[in-house]
Symmetry: C2
Subunit: 221 residues, 2 copies
């Protein structure tokens, strides 16, 4: 019985890693679709989000059953609770990729991305992928040191978002209000995607060490 | 021992209701500060967010201890797990009020809200307050019917956000790009605040009934 239990705990981690792969692929396709105004690719991001949601539900069901029947304590309890938190963050990351795909769809066959911000958004997409790849490694290897690297990538994402605003507010911006709104929201979605990745990394640290960065620490309050 | 346990479960609900009061007050002050360009009020939203975070930490600590020592099952387990989810949503709602307060601070002594969208934002603020008040009642009374009302208020919030976009994109919009960016983000923050309130209401339904609306159902996939 206890062996089946530890197999299930391991399977939980496996499903989380699988979720990181799905939301990485979703964001990668969302970025390409956005930059290339590729409608079928954008549609694939939207329609395949249900696979992410299904994995979330599996993780929630398994976690609940594990807690109800095995009553884990200490590191095992932290593992199950953390799996619940992480799966919710990953589900949200999938939604953010969908939001970007929907902007692509709304503007198609035009592009939602004016030339002036193309490079910045390409870079945001690359950092998003790097972040979620590291998030997957973090979960799989339970390597708390990797978590620090994610914070650095997140800082880079914030810098890119500030660069976006500078371009939108520069006197050279001639695209008007509608593209500015799109780019503002797109920037916000990449930033939030990165925030969730960082939150997951912190959760892995908590799972491994049992000590958590508080919200007040995280927000510098 | 089991009596102390049920007292602690009840105290958990009390702390959640207290959190709804804090994030309601935060959003109420954030809206007033935004509309009146009131810097001290905006600052109060930002500085008092730590109280929300502290409550979150207390709820997380209590929940973990309850699970580790009392090993709840069935409705008690759902109550503890739901308290964890709800407290995370409430913490996020507090952050969204802070985001609005920070826009107020950034533009002060100017207003971030041009006259053309003032009424719409006032209404968004009112719906946000109504939502979180009902969320608090939902948690306190565990009334699953109230949850449906929240979905209706959320639809109203979505309509207001579309109205915001219509104003920003109308040929009459003469305010340029910077206020359009501010209003886009402000609208997004109110919308997300409402989304979290709805998620909490659904969690209360789950806590009471044991059946959950899946993400695929919620997202219409």
């Amino acid at each position: 019985m206890r062996d089946a239990y530890h197999d299930e705990l391991k399977a939980l981690t496996g499903r989380l890693v699988e979720m990181t792969r799905l939301v990485r692929s979703a964001m990668s396709r969302a970025t390409t679709a956005l930059l290339d105004s590729d409608l079928p690719l954008a549609e694939s991001v939207i329609s395949r989000d249900k696979d992410v949601n299904t994995l979330l539900e599996e993780i929630e069901t398994t976690s609940f059953e594990l807690m109800a029947t095995q009553q884990p304590v200490a590191v095992d309890l932290r593992t199950v609770l953390t799996a619940l938190r992480i799966s919710n963050d990953l589900e949200r990351m999938g939604d953010l990729a969908v939001h970007i795909a929907k902007i692509t769809r709304m503007r198609h066959p035009d592009s939602a991305v004016p030339a002036e911000v193309r490079d910045t958004i390409l870079e945001m997409g690359q950092i998003a992928e790097r972040l979620v790849t590291k998030t997957g490694s973090c979960i799989l290897t339970q390597n708390a040191e990797l978590a620090q690297q994610l914070e650095d990538d997140d800082d880079q994402m914030d810098r890119l978002r500030r660069r976006l605003f500078r371009v939108l507010l520069s006197p050279d911006w001639t695209q008007g209000v509608e593209p500015a709104i799109d780019v503002t929201l797109i920037g916000r979605y990449y930033e939030r995607y990165a925030d969730h990745a960082v939150r997951i990394a912190r959760d892995v640290v908590y799972m491994v060490t049992g000590s958590r960065i508080t919200e007040n620490q995280a927000e510098g309050l």
